[in-house]
């Protein structure tokens, strides 16, 4: 799988590159700025672009703008955005149109090497990744009439995993249950929350997030 990285800290950029290299990825570009990344993506069209949200020159929204632009111009390129701060608003902005091949992770997550590698893999194959911290914030949100109250504790766990982008198989593996059981939980949750059942897992992510946010 071919990866391009945009990160202005040399230390982190090289760390990320060698981590991904070790894990068998083909790191085709290491960029310092958003413009450089755009160029590399245009010419090499990698499977995934990993983008730091704060990039030079202003360190404001250059990374996010580049990520949204790449999604627009190259739908086949997965985009994984790394953020120093955990902002629901940014996740929603990134996922607004579709969650296919999109990820939003707290930068710290790269130290969980296995999870991070899995996340890059998932975004590279068109799946979605939402930082668990975002999901737990949404779940812990205060509501006046809480529809989540009808869920069993196990269903809440499944909902949380669904929202972070896990597939049914991923949920089954994580909770150590059968795939069939995971599927049963998922359809039960959709029934209780009154969500329309959707085809792909990434569409499911968006539906759950929108539900939790509203």
């Amino acid at each position: 799988m071919r990866v391009a990285i945009a990160e202005d800290s040399v230390l982190l950029r090289e760390g990320l590159a060698s981590l991904l290299d070790d894990a068998g990825f083909d790191v085709i570009a290491q960029c310092e700025t958003a413009d450089e990344l755009r160029l590399k993506v245009d010419s090499y069209s990698p499977d995934v672009a990993i983008v730091d949200i704060r990039l030079p020159p202003t360190h404001n929204d250059e990374g996010l703008v580049a990520a949204l632009e790449i999604r627009d111009r190259h739908p086949s390129v997965g985009v994984l955005v790394l953020s120093q701060y955990m902002e629901l608003g940014l996740a929603m902005k990134l996922l607004a149109d579709s969650a296919d091949g999109v990820g939003y992770l707290l930068k710290d997550r790269i130290s969980d090497v296995d999870d991070f590698v899995a996340a890059v893999q998932r975004v590279g194959t068109g799946g979605s990744v939402v930082d668990p911290a975002i999901v737990s914030t949404l779940l812990s949100r205060q509501r006046s009439d809480d529809p989540l109250a009808t869920l069993t504790p196990r269903e809440r766990e499944v909902l949380e995993l669904m929202a972070t982008g896990s597939s049914n198989q991923g949920i089954a593996d994580e909770l150590v249950i059968s795939l069939r059981a995971a599927e049963k939980y998922v359809s039960s949750i959709f029934g209780k929350l009154g969500l329309p059942s959707t085809g792909s897992e990434s569409r499911r992510v968006l539906a759950v997030l929108m539900f939790l946010r509203s």
């Binding site: 800290s9 230390l11 982190l12 760390g15 990320l16 060698s18 981590l19 070790d22 949200i53 704060r54 360190h59 404001n60 929204d61 996010l64 120093q84 701060y85 955990m86 902002e87 629901l88 608003g89 940014l90 929603m92 902005k93 930068k107 710290d108 790269i110 130290s111 969980d112 090497v113 296995d114 914030t137 949404l138 949100r141 205060q142 509501r143 006046s144 946010r213």
Partner: protein
Amino acid sequence: MLAAASAAAGSVLLAHASDDLSEPVLEAALLNWTTLPYIAAGSIAWARRPDSRFGRLMVAAGFAMFLSSLQWSQTDVPFTLGMAFDLLPAAILLHLFLAFPSGRLERGAERTLVVAAYTAALGLQLVKMLLWSVQGRNVLAVAEETEAAFTVEDVELGLLSALCLGGVLVLVVRRRGLVRPLRPSIALLVDSFACGLVMVAVLLTAGAFEWPAFETIRRITFLVIGLTPVAFLIGLLDARFSGSTLRELLVRLREEPAPADLRDSLADALRDPSLTVAYWLQDFGRWVDAQGRPVDLPTEGSGQVTKFIDHDGSSAVALLHDPSLADEPELLGAVTAAAAIALENERLHAELRARLDELRGSRQRVIEAGQEERQRLERDLHDGAQQRLIALSLELGRLERRLSGDADARGRLDRARREVAMSLEELRAVAHGIHPAVVSGHGLAVALESLTVRAPVPVRLDVRLEGRMPERLEVAAYYVVSESLANVAKHAHATLARVDVARRDGGLVVEVLDDGVGGADTERGTGLRGLADRVEALGGRLLVWTPHGGGTRVRAELPCA
């Protein structure tokens, strides 16, 4: 006086003795009608304003007109003199009328006209006299070329006539360009100047073409010219007794409350719409208007004149007025005397306003400097410690993967990694507390999502903003919401809250409402004082309604400018 009386007597005697005059009494009366009023009015003006040259010029004009009466003399030398100065009155009247009110010719075109007129009246006259002996009475004649002499005379009369009409044009143009409308009596005077010049022009033309009605025209012209000093005297008296506008001003100054704008009242009283009142602020070392805005005093020739009004021995107030007001020193003096106390009051107000502005500016600068410093600190933390810690934790993670055999080492590395993760978490909170970078980076709407989702009570968020607003506004609005929601959590015992953000008149309006117990202490503990400072420093205002048992509503209005 004596000179005038003897000149008058002389002219009467000359007229009587003359053989040329058919009606000596009428001629002498007409001559004195055109001369004595000039000398009298000029003397009065001279006595009242010794520094103005106009009075002196007027007296000189009167005497110059007497000179022409010498040609009634039967003796050759006085006759020659009288003839030489025959047309001088036309030139000197043009000079006098154009030199009103200062007694000086201010513009180049005016000077050219007057110099040309003197040249024609004296120079061409001399040429004519060299060529024509007038039956031997003119002692200056050196030849007897009467044809040539008459041609010179025609040119002379035509030229002078044209110059007088030019003078009328100057008067008309000058009047059109006036900022300050003329006092009615002065307008009458200027009209009499124009009439006089027109009549002189007609008379000269009549002379050149030898119209049959010449004599009648001459008498009418003399009558008209004699009216000018009368109009001038009316003007002088009017300036002295224009007390009604002053009374009106006094009534207005005594009104309760005082007139909103002292300048307008003074401008009305002085009839000068261009009037500017400037106040000296000693501590700031500058002149300002009533609103505290800096004022530049006019320089020489800028079309305005400054009158300083002293208070406690130093100039405290300056009136910047139209130059024409300088001719009415009585009016200017009376108005400024009447308004002295009001002006000093207004000066103190202007000083207060200037101090307030300065204070507001310095508060804004202090807050902005603080903001910049915080932003820099947050950036330093992000680029420095946070990045290094993440890199460190990444290194630990990779190491942990490599040591797959050694369970003890893996466990210890994992613990180390968790420690780093916690440090990062804390650092992130500190950095966010220093400056909400997400507001600068991605705007208020994005930043408010997390803020409201994390609030301890359900919050309905309604942001109606298209695009970004100026960063300082967005940051201030963010603090208003964050501080208000923190208050809701700590004090309100609310079950619901609402956050509304909308653009209004180019600015930003933020409202945070809750359904809690209300009665918030707006001075202590709630951070509302600090919020108010922040909002007010941006020129906005913070309103808090917090009735007991009625919930709390915080509203911040942030203007864009």
